[in-house]
Symmetry: C2
């Protein structure tokens, strides 16, 4: 009797968890051993993290226990941190132990890309996990409490967000919404609070429709956000940032949303990478390794014009569908599918009741877009956990 | 026509606000000008501050807007900080401006007494105002968030409370109640959290019935509190405390409840003081100044055995009654009253559902005492603000 193939999935982000759920449905009994490895015992909804980071929603609404999403009789779950991938040996090392595989799915997620800006890694916060967003929320509240003890420290009430991409804009929208209740709670004059959103590119939300970008910036300006576009940050210090112009902005809080790179473990594993990402083949495999699938922030997929798609939850989930299909097909000796990205639209929230988006070729904004954003959130919960999850985490 | 006398009340704590409310009732139209001066536009319920400090209640429940308590047509309210008292000139200086008086009521409250322990003033937190308790609450939460980023920093989860007097014990009880929900919220193993209550005296709650003290300590030990009694703190550092034994306890949070002294402005004003307190005469006046009444933490009243009563809310409020009476009597040329303290009982809370107390000669403990504590709280709200205030702030 031949041994059944062993599939190891690294990471329970969008790519990993959706791959696991699909495999669980599609594989027959004893067709493969599937093991999902994740640092935490929960999956988190990265696209939602800007809300708990600002404190406008509870972090519990941004995470789901993994054992509620997978069937432990069909999939093994190992809570551990991956420390090394050894593709030659078909092995991954964990903080506690090691796992061998026949097929590997790498969905480890990305890391902040600070582009070598001095001090950014050390002093800026980033929105990347439940732990990090709880920290940011507490850090923000703490600055208000500190200010009441040292009222000459205006820098406690200055918040700098580096990067006006998707995450930066969505976070700034929530933060601006959070300021009035915080001012009320701590008896702080709202006019003392400053929010700066700084972007090196010549526009906020690069790649987005300019008319919608203009709309978004106006919404955020009206909430008190000051934009500094076409302005690079030269250095981040414990006291704030220094701009390329030489100007210094003092702030006790700097949140960096300016870039995402892939995972350092992929560089270390000997794969050919670009900023920690692997340019996958049409089947989503790492070049040279027919048994290694790479998803999400760890992967690069080119659009028809030959430029990489930005890494989003949407593309990760679509990749996961193809990845699961290809794994099953490989095991069964069937034909593999090519991955092709189909955009279902993009919506960026701008805080309570406001958003902008593109659905098909249609531009949407304001409350219509905000409702659309909610629909997308709910659709995702439904995809991974069905109606019970929608009811538990849907915030109605 | 003779000028009407001017009464200035400094501080809207228990002594000041109750004096103001009584004067408002007892004085006839145009009998006196009364001005109440306070740093904030709210009165706070000091005996309740241990709860918002630990985060077990909202700070809003511990404060009341002053203009809801006094009638502005009868009493002027000045929101300002007192900077100097000049009893010879019958004048007080404020941060903005100055006030002359014929009668002065000093209810400025106390300050932490650190007994010269090095570093205590600089590095320890104290439970003394709405701003300070919001800070302590945020500081505690922040340590949990920090620990998740730096899991080797066990000192983030160590909380040292210096002093096991009334405030120390009540705070420790609330803090112990707050730990389990914080551990749940931040995914922290509760066994990593340490609470130390350190007291230099040979017993917790010095002066309280030993049987009740024993009961209280057992309740708190079962909630996870470690007591170090008969143990002096030699020094407070940014990293924790050093005990007289030389032992070092590392902690990111030290809350000092070990002592209260009077107000430094009384020392500076040339009154005869003991640790910032004035030993008042039988009518509650500062020796040598028949027109200066001193209440609460700023005053010393001796018990029949010739030892000072501990400063409590209860004694302040009783003083306020006599003070108001004596002010009215002075103005009318009537006879002044002597102050005599009548204990109505004392209850110390030990967190949710637990307390100890003495009512008359009866010892009470457990849920009976906890209910009694609530009754006392409600009675106070009723005294100052009537039924509407009880309903607004009563936490039912």
């Amino acid at each position: 009797m031949s041994r059944i193939p062993r599939i190891v999935i690294l990471g329970a982000g969008y790519g990993g968890i959706v791959t696991a759920i699909r495999l669980q449905k599609e594989l027959n009994y004893n067709e493969a051993d599937v093991t999902l490895v994740n640092k935490h015992d929960y999956h988190y909804i990265t696209t939602h993290l800007h809300m708990p980071a600002a404190g406008t929603d509870n972090p519990e609404n941004a995470r789901v226990n993994i054992l509620r999403l997978i069937d432990e009789f069909k999939i093994d779950f190992v809570k551990s941190t991956v420390t090394q991938i050894r593709p030659q040996e078909k092995k991954v090392l964990l903080e506690e132990g090691a796992l061998s595989y026949d097929y590997l799915v790498v969905g480890l997620g990305g890391e902040p890309e600070t582009f070598g800006i001095p001090g950014m890694k050390e002093y800026a916060l980033s929105i990347r996990s439940i732990n990090s967003v709880r920290f940011i929320r507490e850090h923000i509240e703490y600055q208000f409490a500190r200010f009441k003890r040292e009222p000459n420290r205006k820098d406690y009430l200055t918040f700098i967000v580096g990067g006006a991409g998707f995450t930066g804009i969505e976070f700034v929208g929530e933060l601006a919404d959070r300021i009035p209740p915080l001012c009320k709670e701590f008896d702080v004059d709202p006019s003392l609070v400053k929010i700066y959103n700084i972007e090196a590119a010549p526009t906020a939300l690069p790649g987005f429709d300019p008319e919608l970008v203009e709309y978004a910036m106006n919404v955020l300006r009206n909430k008190g956000v000051t934009f500094r576009i076409s302005t690079a940050i030269k250095e981040c210090t414990p006291d704030g940032v220094i701009l390329a112009t030489g100007e210094q902005l003092k702030a006790a809080t700097v949140v960096w949303t300016g870039g995402v790179r892939g995972n350092h473990m992929l560089d270390e594993a000997g794969f050919e990478t670009m900023r920690g990402r692997i340019k996958v083949d049409a089947k989503l495999r790492a070049p040279g390794y027919d048994n290694v699938y790479v998803l999400g922030d760890c992967s690069i997929v080119m659009n028809p014009e030959g430029r990489p798609y930005p890494p989003t939850a949407q593309i990760s989930m679509q990749q996961a569908g193809v990845c699961a299909h290809n794994l099953v097909a490989s095991i069964r000796g069937e034909r593999l599918k090519d991955f092709e990205y189909k955009s279902k639209g993009t919506v960026a929230s701008l805080g309570r009741g406001e958003a902008i988006g593109i659905v098909g070729t249609r531009k949407i904004k304001g409350s219509v877009a905000a409702v659309m954003k909610k629909v997308i959130d709910v659709r995702y919960l439904y995809t991974i956990g069905g109606l019970p999850l929608v009811l538990r985490k849907g915030r109605f």
